[in-house]
């Protein structure tokens, strides 16, 4: 039952992202990239220097934000260091 130490805990991985870039994919059509400042048990997060991408049929609408508190309720996927721009 005890967690295998060779296993990677999700909360640990997010914790290691604090201070670096993170890509947040919401349940809907929004994605955000920003520097993770902190998060709580609900994975509400404080992000800085955020770029918000709204993916629509016509293309991507981009919004820049200095600092935000993002409610964790609508987060689907977190990608450490990633960004939606193709490499």
């Amino acid at each position: 039952m005890a967690n295998n130490p060779s296993q990677l805990l999700p909360s640990e991985l997010i914790d290691r992202c604090i201070g670096s870039k993170i890509w947040v994919i919401m349940k809907g059509d929004k994605e955000l990239v920003g520097t993770l400042k902190g998060f709580d048990v609900y994975v509400n997060m404080v992000l800085e220097d955020v770029t918000e991408y709204e993916i629509t049929a016509e293309g991507r609408r981009i919004t820049k934000l200095d600092q935000i508190l993002l409610n964790g309720n609508n987060i689907a996927i977190l990608v450490p260091g990633g960004s939606p721009d193709p490499e």
């Binding site: 967690n3 640990e12 964790g72 689907a76 996927i77 990608v79 450490p80 990633g82």
Partner: protein
């Protein structure tokens, strides 16, 4: 160990194996399960997301994008299944035209 509630879904046997994950909102990803917690938060490596249909977000297309190492939020997870031994079949409930 007594008094400790065991989870219905034991993900331990899926660790380091390929899994398919469906999320609320219609997103679908596959990847190698690297970790999980009791709230069904998942760590997937080499994750690939299937792009949703622009007209119907509950349908996925053949288009994919590589995400790499990701965390899937347990609150958004609807389905977890191993990719090994999973095959997609034609819909047996679709009535043929004119039937």
């Amino acid at each position: 160990m007594s008094g400790r509630k065991e989870t219905v879904l034991d993900l331990a046997k899926f660790v380091d194996k390929g899994v398919q994950v469906k999320l609320t909102g219609g997103r679908q990803v596959t990847g190698t399960l690297k970790g999980y917690d009791q709230l069904l938060n998942l760590v997937l490596d080499e994750a690939v997301e299937f792009i949703r249909d622009a007209d119907d977000p509950l349908k996925t297309t053949d288009q994919t994008r590589r995400l790499g190492l990701i965390v899937c939020r347990g609150t958004a997870v609807m389905l977890v299944s191993p990719t090994d031994g999973t095959d997609e079949i034609a819909n047996p409930f679709l009535q043929p035209e004119g039937a």
